[in-house]
């Protein structure tokens, strides 16, 4: 199991796409999920696409699915109970209030839950198939200053390390007899989070100082010093397939928006 949102390091059709293409695809997909009536189809379609086009089976990111599941279930249940209107699966009169499980609520809850799941999954697809530095450099090609783009990519590169550090700290907390981070009691859980933040935060500060020094020693500021612009050894360029996918995303999105507007005007 990899830490969540970590680049998978494989070579596939999705991995080879330009990060900008994937970003536009992800944003379009999210918008589409709000425009179509049955977002669970898009949710499962995305799982299939990640498997077929990136070679990443759900086993590799099941912690993410496990993390999303209670949130999706909670959203569905809340709407099932809160949205009123017949037909009901089941209802009971409590004094003057009728509490019921409505079919309309269930559908609304499922739609919202799956939309949320689709959003998370789309970003997971992006993170697992996009090398952070390609992403950073593509932003650089679109005008972001090099240092900002590089440090942004580096922050993503650092994320799995911090996640691993967090797991070790969580174990260290257990070794000191505290189970606060596994507690469902917020009065125990949140102080536990604060306690964990001390070693995690101080470790991150220490690490950032060491990394900043190492970057300077490897010549981060040399181009500014010498006035000779940096050369990118492995540059990012949009290919025909990237442009085709971007265009398809925009067209599908535009088509759906138009169809929805037409449908609304006909009603």
């Amino acid at each position: 199991m990899r830490p969540l949102y970590q680049f998978s390091g494989q070579d596939s059709f999705l991995h080879r796409l330009d990060p900008r293409t994937k970003l536009i695809f992800v944003v379009s997909y999210l918008l589409i999920s709000f425009l179509v009536p049955q977002p669970w189809i898009l949710f499962f379609l995305l799982i299939a696409a990640i498997w077929a086009l990136a070679g990443i089976s759900p086993v590799e990111y099941y912690p993410f699915l496990l993390l999303m599941l209670p949130i999706m279930v909670a959203i569905t249940l809340v709407h099932t109970f809160l949205i009123e209107g017949a037909p009901y699966f089941w209802s009971v009169q409590l004094g003057r209030v009728e509490v019921g499980v409505s079919i309309a609520g269930l559908y609304t809850g499922l739609e919202l839950g799956f939309r949320l799941g689709t959003m998370g999954l789309a970003f997971t697809l992006f993170a697992m198939t996009t090398e952070p530095f390609q992403w950073g450099m593509s932003m650089y090609r679109w005008g972001l200053p090099y240092k900002v783009a590089f440090l942004f990519a580096f922050a993503i590169r650092l994320y799995p390390l911090i996640q691993e550090e967090f797991i070790v700290i969580q174990r260290a907390l257990k070794a000191r007899g505290s189970n606060a981070l596994s507690s469902f009691n917020p009065l125990r859980f949140f102080p536990g989070v604060v306690t964990t933040a001390v070693p995690l935060g101080l470790g991150a500060i220490r690490r950032s100082q060491d990394v900043a020094m190492a970057m300077e020693l490897r010549g981060l500021n040399l181009p500014e010093e010498t006035g000779r612009p940096r050369v990118l050894f492995r540059d990012v360029r949009l290919r025909a397939v990237d442009i085709a996918i971007m265009a398809a995303c925009v067209l599908v999105l535009a088509g759906l928006v138009v169809a929805r507007l037409v449908a609304r005007s006909l009603r």
């Binding site: 174990r171 000191r176 505290s178 596994s182 990394v211 040399l222």
Partner: protein, 578 residues
């Protein structure tokens, strides 16, 4: 021309007394100079001064003249100084910024505005030089520690620097990783590069070093050619910096009047040198031999720690079978070491013992109780686990509160927790710093604090992962002696995961050697270190004096330098009498 010239150099961090003063040092082109000294003596600071980090990145009061590669560092900028120097520090993790190996090596050349063709050629040359062309497209965080540090060396080598500054580049690595990196440094020195390095393992770099500079009390106490070091035993002893074990053995014997030539640091060479003399070490009487070991599964009533048929397979997609049915019984009051190369299953075993991992098969019992059936609190009270990095285990400020945190979690009253904390802090020599923030302690101090924070809960079993990583030899022995005292005085069973075999030999009662998830050897250090062939399977090497004992057939094998000196001196005395 000299690569580095320091004249009357001093340095003090803001608001602190001078760390370095009157430092004079010259490093000629093509020379390899090692800097040694006790922890906190200013070795790394000296390297920072040479690399231009001081005064351009780290502030403080720098005095004297610092000239590196013909340039006064104060008059230049860090970028310009660094452009001609390859600097490698201890932790490879903090020196890798890219995700793909090729990008990492290319990055320095990109910053120097080399053309794509030049970068491609430099990349291939650097990867070939450090024998890692097969890693070119790998993800950096998937590499082993040794591979990561070799990659850092390659990334620094690629832009063709004129000088290498290496700050203890093997201190965070396991023996395999360290040997890989040392091979890289050896290649650098053989190709004529100028190198200034701090390295704790002097015996490992012996062959490639021209001179050794000893820093103590903030200044250069000794600057001598390698082959003359044996003459300066007192200076090294005063600084509590060890010479290579066999070099020191020879020097101490000669000082004691035993007619032996200066010994080289390698076992074969030392054995050959001794063979050319008439000196024969004394064989101990049979009754002085080490007591028999507690064999796996031996009857001990009740066994403090019993590991039975322990197996662990990591979940998919990793699916590695890390432990394959390990049996182990450890008595109360003993210190046991778990040794073996990385990936042999040491940490997995320790995590199963401490209950952080649930075994796939088998059981772990502490005083007859199954660890997996205990709650988090009961488990913390039964098995203490000290993680490798002390900084991951600091939860409270100041030191006293951090030590009291565990007992309070276990339901101890405030007064009782404070009393227990005071006792442990005094034993660990931390009572005087009880009101400081833990991060103001030295690395050794924080390591002792991590041990205190677990020991205060008085667990019957104490598991410690690499308690001496990054510590100098003196501090390492102090920590291990302390663990032995804890085991003896509190009747605790202490389990230590370590790669430092000289510490195992000097302080541990039992050794368990793991190889690919299996227990391949178990017994006293004297017993286990006899079978070098078996230990080689898991990349464990006995201490040099023990290995020398193996070559010479000494019974029992000497485990420490003191033992070896006594045996050879007694042998020489007997020969003289005869």
């Amino acid at each position: 021309m000299e690569a580095i010239t320091l004249e009357g150099v001093g340095f003090a961090f803001p608001g602190q007394p001078p760390l370095l003063h009157d430092v004079n040092l010259r490093v000629g082109e093509g020379e390899v100079v090692a800097v040694v000294g006790p922890t906190g003596c200013g070795k790394s600071t000296l390297l920072h001064i040479c690399a231009g980090v001081i005064p351009h990145f780290v502030s403080g009061e720098l005095t004297g003249r610092v000239q590196v590669l013909g340039e006064e560092t104060r008059q230049s900028t860090l970028a310009r100084i660094a452009a001609r120097i390859g600097t490698v520090t201890q932790d490879p993790e903090n020196q890798l910024f890219n995700l793909i190996v090729a990008d990492e090596v290319a990055w320095g050349m990109e910053n120097r505005a080399w053309t794509r063709e030049e970068i491609g050629a430099g990349l291939a040359r650097a990867l070939d030089f450090f024998r890692i062309p097969h890693l070119r497209d790998r993800i950096t965080y998937d590499l082993s520690g040794g591979e990561k540090q070799r990659l850092v060396l390659a990334a620094n080598y690629a832009p063709r620097p004129d000088l290498f500054i290496l700050d203890d580049p093997t201190s965070q690595l396991d023996p395999i990783g360290a040997s890989e990196v040392l091979a890289g440094i050896r290649d650098l020195s053989e190709s004529g590069h100028t190198i200034l390095l701090v390295e704790g393992k002097l015996e490992e770099i012996w062959a490639l070093v021209d001179r050794v500079v000893l820093i103590d009390h903030g200044t250069v106490e000794l600057d001598a050619p390698r082959d003359e070091l044996h003459r300066h035993l007192d200076v090294f002893a005063a600084a509590m910096v060890p010479l290579p074990q066999l070099v020191e053995l020879g020097a101490r014997l000669r000082r004691g009047g035993v007619p032996v030539p200066p010994l080289p640091p390698d076992v074969e060479g030392a054995a050959a040198s001794l063979a050319s003399t008439t000196v024969a070490p004394a064989q101990a009487a049979p009754e002085a031999a080490a007591p028999p070991a507690a064999a796996p599964g031996a009857a001990m009533d009740p066994p403090r720690l019993r590991v039975s048929g322990l197996a662990y397979t990591y979940p998919p997609p990793r699916r590695t079978e890390a432990l394959k049915g390990v049996d182990l019984v450890l008595p109360a009051g003993s210190v046991a070491a778990i040794v073996g190369q990385n990936g042999s299953g040491k940490t997995t075993l320790a995590r199963c013992v401490s209950g952080h991992l649930r075994p796939t098969r088998g059981t772990v019992e502490v005083s007859g109780r199954d660890v997996q059936r205990m709650s988090v609190r009961h488990r913390a009270a039964a098995v203490g686990y000290v993680f490798q990095n002390p900084d991951h285990q600091i939860f409270k400020d100041p030191v006293l509160d951090d030590v009291m945190f565990g007992p309070l979690n276990l339901g101890m009253g405030g007064d009782e927790a404070r009393e227990s904390a005071e006792r442990v802090l005094r034993a660990l020599d931390l009572w005087d710093v009880r009101d400081l923030h833990p991060f103001r302690l030295s690395k050794g101090g924080r390591q002792r604090l991590a041990i205190a924070a677990i020991a205060v809960m008085r667990p019957p079993v104490l598991v410690i992962d690499e308690p001496t990583t990054g510590q100098d030899v003196h501090e390492s022995h102090a920590i291990m002696a302390l663990l032995r005292d804890l085991a003896r005085e509190s009747d605790q069973t202490v389990v230590v995961i370590t790669h430092a075999m000289n510490l195992v030999a000097a302080h541990c009662d039992l050794v368990a050697a793991l190889c690919q998830g299996e227990l391949i050897a178990f017994g006293t250090p004297e017993q286990v270190f006899r079978d070098e062939e078996l230990l080689r399977r898991t990349f464990v090497k006995p201490p040099p004096v023990t290995a020398l004992g193996n070559r010479l057939g000494l019974e029992p094998r000497p485990l420490t330098l003191d033992e070896a000196v006594a045996r050879f001196a007694a042998g020489a005395l007997r020969a003289a009498c005869e």
